[in-house]
């Protein structure tokens, strides 16, 4: 095996450890998902039954299709539930390990905050905060690099969407101050 002298190496210092303990097994999640889907099927099925799910002279009523789809969905999830309950005796795979869950939450929580903040400060300010904050605190990248990248990216987005393509995004007090 000859090594070419040109190599690209990227490290991932915060990678999840391989031996991290399991938080929850796939089997458990499967049961939870099937129960949720079953509840959804019952709710939607009931609503469609109310709308009218029978077959009149011109063919099916509005609720007919969705009602039977809810029945199919319910049946599928019930089957899934039984299968996963039966398989519970045997060991099922890990759904997520603790280290993985930590990393997933490290993306999910900022994303959630981003969506919340967007309502008040507008999309562009929220984007700047998300990108700079994420790079700095999750990625441990130098502060100036994080701020610069966030500023550049947000500016490019603003120019592309707001100025060049006229796609309107939620805006907040900052944009208002500049009269946009």
């Amino acid at each position: 095996m000859s090594q070419t002298d040109l190599e690209i190496v990227v490290d991932d210092p915060t990678a999840p450890e391989d031996d991290s303990p399991s938080v929850v097994s796939s089997g458990t999640i499967e049961i939870v998902v099937c129960l949720l889907l079953l509840a959804l099927a019952v709710t939607l099925g009931y609503d469609n039954w109310r709308t009218g799910a029978s077959w009149d002279s011109t063919g099916p009523e509005p609720g007919y299709f969705p009602f039977y789809l809810s029945v199919i969905l319910g049946g599928g999830s019930l089957y899934g539930l039984i299968v996963s309950l039966l398989a519970r005796r045997t060991a099922s795979g890990t759904f997520v390990t603790r280290a993985q869950a930590r990393r997933v939450l490290a993306v999910f929580v900022p994303t959630l905050l981003f969506c919340l903040v967007m309502q008040f400060l507008g999309l562009y300010v929220a984007s700047f905060l998300l990108i700079s904050g994420f790079m700095r605190f999750v990625g441990k990248i130098a502060l100036w690099k994080s701020l610069l990248t966030a500023l550049l990216f947000t500016a490019i987005m603003f120019v592309t969407f707001d100025i060049a393509f006229d796609v309107i995004m939620p805006k907040g007090p900052l944009e208002a101050a500049f009269g946009r």
């Binding site: 990678a15 959804l40 011109t58 999830s77 759904f95 997933v104 900022p110 994303t111 990248i141």
Partner: protein, 510 residues
């Protein structure tokens, strides 16, 4: 040759500086998306879709389809240089591509990958050029019952032929169909499943769901993995390119076989992933020395790449001719068509000739431009991977949010996107396939309308689906496919008893 004249006209429509520029932008974005971990063809197209909302439909589809070609090309780069398939369909490319890179033949492997992608797409585009107009003019005679039968066939073949556990495909598909039904019922005007919420009145937008399912969930999944990588840098010189091209005729059987497999699996909902593996395995089986595969054999790169691209491209055929997407990405392109006010289906070839032939011509041009582009810029794209994921991830989140919001200017859609992100993450981890869901969500309303229109036409008589030879055979085929696993099992058992009986007979005779 009517198709030929129209195609030439399509080239004329395309050959403006603006479209060629858009094409380049689309390709670069696409390769970018294909190279980055955690983003792929469908995600890229979904996220970048809002960029095109203000363009005219032809420019928009040219750019989007170029993003798609770019993503197909991009997947090969990481598979060969880093042994990391950027896309599921490039997994088979790593088998021989990475060993080649380890032997210092990265440039050769990359050239082979790009060239064979180009050939695969070209075959598929040729097929589209000549077959799509024929199918669509045939489909012009279709009424609602025929269309419903075709939709039914699509849904049933997913359930019957899918590799996942059957009940999971059924769950995914019925959930998609149900969510598609939320909102105002188009036939009667009644409200369905809105529970008094004004936001649900509009229904669940397909593209918002896709951005959440593919964009957001993919980031969550990518973060779970170790993102460290180690690979080879490569630059491609003209000498290597010519060297590989000179040897091409030697591999014509492999190329042709893979193109054929790809086209077939692309049109039927088998997909590029299945095609690439099948292409690779068949090349191995038919080779004189199968054990040399997996150790850096150039044919091992040719075979899967040709098949994957042929399949990815030909998936657009049923979308253009019938309005039925052959893949997830095609489904998203279809969603795009509807945003621009075009009604996908056979009428497209009659009412929007410029658009259709512009698109087909862009497939030819996009692939030529793409080939040149990737061959010259590989080193740059390989170094994109040096950009830390911590910088890429929030940018993708922002792009997703922009995309989701831009579709209907609704804050509710941002939350919907986030919700679908979680759903996509959980579904992927417990093996509920997302493709049937996507397909059901985009086709749900059309299928239901077709069904109810046929019912109104026939006065509520289900026999209308067997009223003539065409619709009858499609419906029957759909039902056969739905129960295919059962039928297949029975046939096999029957075959076994038959064989056992003849075996016994022979023994008795002796």
């Amino acid at each position: 040759m009517e198709a030929f004249g129209l195609l030439l006209h399509g080239f004329v429509v395309l050959l403006t500086w603006k479209t060629v520029l858009l094409m380049m932008v689309g390709l670069v974005l696409g390769i970018f998306v294909g190279v980055l971990p955690g983003l792929g063809g469908p995600n890229g197209v979904a996220i970048l879709l809002p960029l095109t909302f203000t363009m005219d439909p032809t420019s928009a589809i040219v750019m989007l389809s170029c993003i798609y070609w770019g993503a197909l090309f991009g997947g090969a780069i990481t598979s060969i240089l880093f042994n990391i398939p950027g896309e599921a369909w490039s997994v088979a490319t790593t088998f021989d591509g990475y060993p080649m890179a380890q032997q210092g033949r990265a440039a050769e492997a990359l050239t082979a990958a790009f060239t064979s992608s180009f050939i695969g797409s070209l075959v598929a585009v040729l097929l589209i050029t000549f077959l799509a107009p024929m199918i669509s003019s045939f489909a012009l005679k279709f009424g609602p019952p025929e269309f419903f039968a075709v939709y039914l066939l699509t849904f049933c073949s997913f359930v019957g032929l899918g590799r996942e556990a059957k009940h999971k495909t059924v769950i995914s598909m019925s959930l998609g169909l149900l969510l598609a039904g939320i909102g105002m019922d188009t036939v009667s005007g009644n409200l369905r499943m809105t529970f008094g919420s004004p936001e649900l009145l509009r229904g669940i937008n397909f593209l918002v769901a896709v951005i959440g399912l593919f964009g957001i969930s993919e980031i969550l999944l990518t973060m779970e993995e170790r993102l460290a990588l180690r690979g080879h840098a490569a630059s491609i010189s003209l000498r290597v390119v010519l060297g590989v091209w000179k040897d091409l005729p030697k591999y014509w059987v492999t190329l042709l076989r893979s193109s054929f497999i790809g086209c077939w699996l692309g049109i039927t909902p088998g997909g590029a992933i299945a095609a690439s593996f099948m292409g690779y395995n068949l090349a191995k089986r038919f080779a004189k020395d199968p054990e040399s595969f997996g150790k850096g054999r150039i044919e091992g790169v040719f075979a899967p790449e040709t098949a994957a691209h042929a399949s990815g491209t030909s998936a657009l055929l049923p979308m253009l001719a019938l309005g039925i997407p052959g893949s997830g990405t095609a489904a998203i392109l279809l969603g795009g068509l509807m945003v621009w006010g075009l009604n996908p289906g056979p009428l497209l070839f009659v009412e929007h000739k410029d658009f259709v032939w512009g698109l087909i011509a862009s497939m030819y041009l996009g692939n030529v431009v793409g080939l040149v582009l990737v061959l010259t810029t590989v080193p740059i794209f390989a170094s994109i991977l040096r950009v830390p994921f911590a910088a890429v991830a929030p940018m993708i989140v922002v792009s997703c949010a922009i995309g989701a919001y831009a579709i209907q200017n609704a804050m509710f859609d941002i939350w919907l996107m986030l919700g679908f992100g979680i759903v996509g993450y959980v579904f992927k981890k417990i093996g509920i396939p997302l493709a049937p869901f996507t397909l059901a969500l985009v086709l749900g309303n059309r299928a239901e309308d077709a069904f109810r229109l046929s019912m109104i036409g026939s006065g509520g008589d289900l026999k209308v689906f067997w009223s003539n030879g065409l619709v009858g055979s499609i419906t029957t085929l759909a039902i056969v496919l739905l129960f295919w696993p059962v039928i297949d099992g029975l046939l096999r058992r029957f075959g076994q008893t038959q064989r056992a009986r003849t075996g016994l007979q022979q023994r008795l005779d002796q």
